[in-house]
Amino acid sequence: MNVPLWPLAGLFLAISVSAHAADAAAVYSKGGTNPAAMACATCHGAEGEGMAAAGFPRLAGLSANYMRKQLADFASGARANPIMQPIAAALSHEEADAVSTMLADKPQPQVERIDRTALVDGPGESLALSGAWDRNIPECVACHGPSGTGVGDAFPPLAGQSAQYLSSQLTAWRQGTRKNDPNDLMGQIARSLTEDEVTAVSTYFAGLTDKGAAK
């Protein structure tokens, strides 16, 4: 084949694509066109793995539609967060869409499948697999799936998130400072949890690995 032509073809392709869609990788690593749209990688890590110690969540492998909704909710104020609100507001619709799509295609962490058939061990796992039905609290896996790996666009993965992030969100729902969940499904449950339960269940899901639950 005519070797020299192929790189050119690629160049044309790249140009024509960028004319229609934002460059997701550039938005992620360098920021959006508006300088207020800071680079995602600054806090969410080079590969979208998050920054556990600071409570910045993992984004890699989450549902693209879930992330689009969160960005839209940050931009509109439906989800309150002093860091993310100005960034999301500064991202163009195309940039938010592209970066969500790119991140959704990245791999989720591999965790051993743990469902309701497992014997529970400890308060975090008990909530995760059995719930606390005396207070109308369903088991987490009933909606977030086995091992909390997430289901569809409305029930994000819990496995792979840090205990810091999970507990901060559950606490926000308990206190009513986060309320952008569908039909108050999470808020209703979180308000029935105790502080100790928030800590226990957050620690449980953060500790899931390909070898099962941390003991």
Binding site: T117, V120, W133, C143, G145, P146, V151
Partner: protein
């Protein structure tokens, strides 16, 4: 266990929904009063931590595993995407959600559904044939043995042959003027679709359903008790949306139950001579409020899928 079916049957028994003009099945003896499941007035099954670590305990655990993940642990007998625990919440423990501890101690019992005295094993078999749209596990086989052991264990200390409070899904009175499918669709779209999907198809994680399909080929068949609108309304009112049980107005529960059960689903395995009409006359005409064999939106329901 009787899983879905049981629940369904139970429910159906107790629901004189349309006042006098509906003859209910053999659930007439079942209490349908509502109450707070956390209340001490309900029988309290043993805790999982109390399960003995021996051969008996292992059989009970096998039963629990079948109950919560039926397709994985009893694949030969399941013909859809459901699990027992989809209808019997809290792994068969929750009062007012057809708990196993309230069912186990009531058998053997006469059932109009098949016009004979049924053993508990036969009752469990019925669940598999109807609610699970599958086939009956052998009465002396490992699946029935495990599910019976799990039920027996949950009923530890319960009185035999005595109707326990919380056995059924508490009856919900039908709205005056009947149900409204269009309003039911609105409730479905607003409250149910986020989990069960825009077309009742459920949602999966990998190959297994997390949110059960509500109609279509992977749901319960036309012979399951949940196909009765009155039964489904009672279940929905008590348990849906998950974690928010008791919040839907009675009218919404009825309307959305009717909407769910106005869609096609697998055929009633009792189908007579291939005739929906004959099957309706024999099995559905006096079985609560249901749409089997009825015309909805110009199409007759009950042809199966």
């Amino acid at each position: 266990m009787k899983t879905h079916t049981t629940a369904l049957l139970l429910m159906s028994l107790g629901f004189p929904v349309l006042a006098d003009d509906i003859a209910m099945e053999d659930q007439s003896q079942i209490l349908t009063g509502a109450g707070d499941p956390a209340s001490s007035k309900y029988f309290q099954p043993p805790k999982e931590s109390e399960l003995p670590d021996n051969t008996y305990g292992q059989l009970v655990q096998q039963g629990r595993a079948i109950f919560v993940d039926t397709k994985t642990h009893a694949p030969d007998y399941v013909g859809n995407g459901l699990a027992c625990a989809n209808c019997h919440l809290e792994q068969g423990r929750k009062a007012n959600s057809a708990p196993l501890w309230a069912a186990y101690t009531m058998y053997p019992a006469y059932r109009k559904k098949n016009d004979k005295v049924n053993s508990y094993a036969e009752r469990l078999q019925g669940c598999f044939q109807f609610s699970m749209n599958g086939k009956a596990p052998e009465a002396d086989g490992p699946v029935i043995a495990a599910l019976s052991a799990y039920s027996y264990w949950l009923a530890t200390g319960a009185p035999t042959g005595q109707e326990l409070s919380g056995r059924a899904y508490p009856e919900v009175p039908q709205p005056e003027g009947g149900y409204d499918l269009a309003k039911g669709e609105q409730v479905y779209d607003a409250q149910c679709a986020v989990c069960h999907g825009p077309n009742g198809e459920g949602q999966k994680s990998g190959d297994l359903y997390v949110f059960p399909p509500l109609w279509g080929a992977d749901s319960f068949n036309w012979g399951a008790g949940m196909h009765r609108i009155n039964t489904a309304a009672a279940f929905i009112k008590e348990n849906m949306p998950l974690g928010k049980g008791g919040t839907l107005p009675d009218e919404d529960a009825w309307n959305v139950a009717a909407f769910m059960n106005s869609h096609e689903r697998p055929q009633d395995p009792r189908l007579i001579d291939g005739s929906v009409e004959k099957t309706r006359d024999k099995y559905h005409a006096n079985d609560g409020v249901n749409l089997y064999g009825e015309i909805v939106n110009g199409k007759m329901l009950g042809k199966g899928i």
